[in-house]
Amino acid sequence: MPQLPDFWRVEVFHPLTVHAPLALLVFGTLCRIAGQLVSGDGRLGFLTPAGRLLLGVGAVAAWAAIWTGSLADGEVGRTLCDPTVAKTHENVAWGVAITFSCALPADLALAILKGADRLRRGLVTLVLLAYLGGAGALGYAGHLGATLVYQQGAAVYHPTDACTEFE
């Protein structure tokens, strides 16, 4: 009789870890951009530091997701009908993690360094564009990840027709 595989397979740790950076980086980007549009002294002044906090935690979480993704790739890569999707998914994820990891220190530099208005405006624009581009790329990486699961069944167990392993 077939047996249900252990749930805590190596490849399961990737979906467990990947959703945190998805939420943190997307909402962090929205907060940060909104914070740039409002007064820092007003009631909505919390948006910029909140955005930076979400992005900081999200960037760390993104690297954890990349690590678990690599582990999952080792387990399921050879079972996929189109592993080029997994490769693109991995490449874009790396690009996202690097983008946010570079943009955030530059953003923090803005918080610390005052004056030099023209340069500050230039750096703010660069940072916000990086966040927006990173968030867009993150959405694409997420879409590719979803196709791996729902179009190719990556890491998904397929029960027998008679469901005997559940008896």
């Binding site: 592993p83 874009v92 690097i98 983008t99 943009a103 530059a106 360094l113 660069l126």
Partner: protein
């Protein structure tokens, strides 16, 4: 002094962001038809039993399976015998867009 620091921050940010795009672009792999190809091992991922082989300008991603035969010359070899830079001859079977390595021969 402050302007210099901000300029430095801008330059570093741009360089590092550009590097992220380079990382994304460099790792593209290719799919070829079933057959035998000669090329160079450009990367070995021992923890995944996976190698990347460059052949005729194409980068092949090959996950070893239980059926993959690895030879060094005329003798059977272990996966640990594979190293970056080796010349290899690979026989692959294309399934969908996946290349299953049937046989890998280390030529040097």
């Amino acid at each position: 002094m402050l302007r210099n620091e901000l300029r430095r921050a801008i330059v570093i940010t741009v360089v590092l962001l550009a590097s992220s795009l380079t990382v994304v672009a460099c790792e593209k792999t290719d799919v070829v038809e079933s057959g035998t190809y000669e090329g160079t091992v450009v990367n070995v991922e021992a923890d995944k039993d996976e190698i990347y082989v460059e052949s005729d300008g194409k980068k092949l991603e090959l996950y070893f399976t239980d059926q993959t035969e690895l030879m060094k010359g005329e003798e059977k070899a272990e996966f640990s015998a594979l190293e970056t830079g080796q010349q290899v001859k690979v026989t692959v079977e294309k399934k969908g867009k996946r290349l299953d390595p049937k046989k890998v021969v280390i030529l040097e």
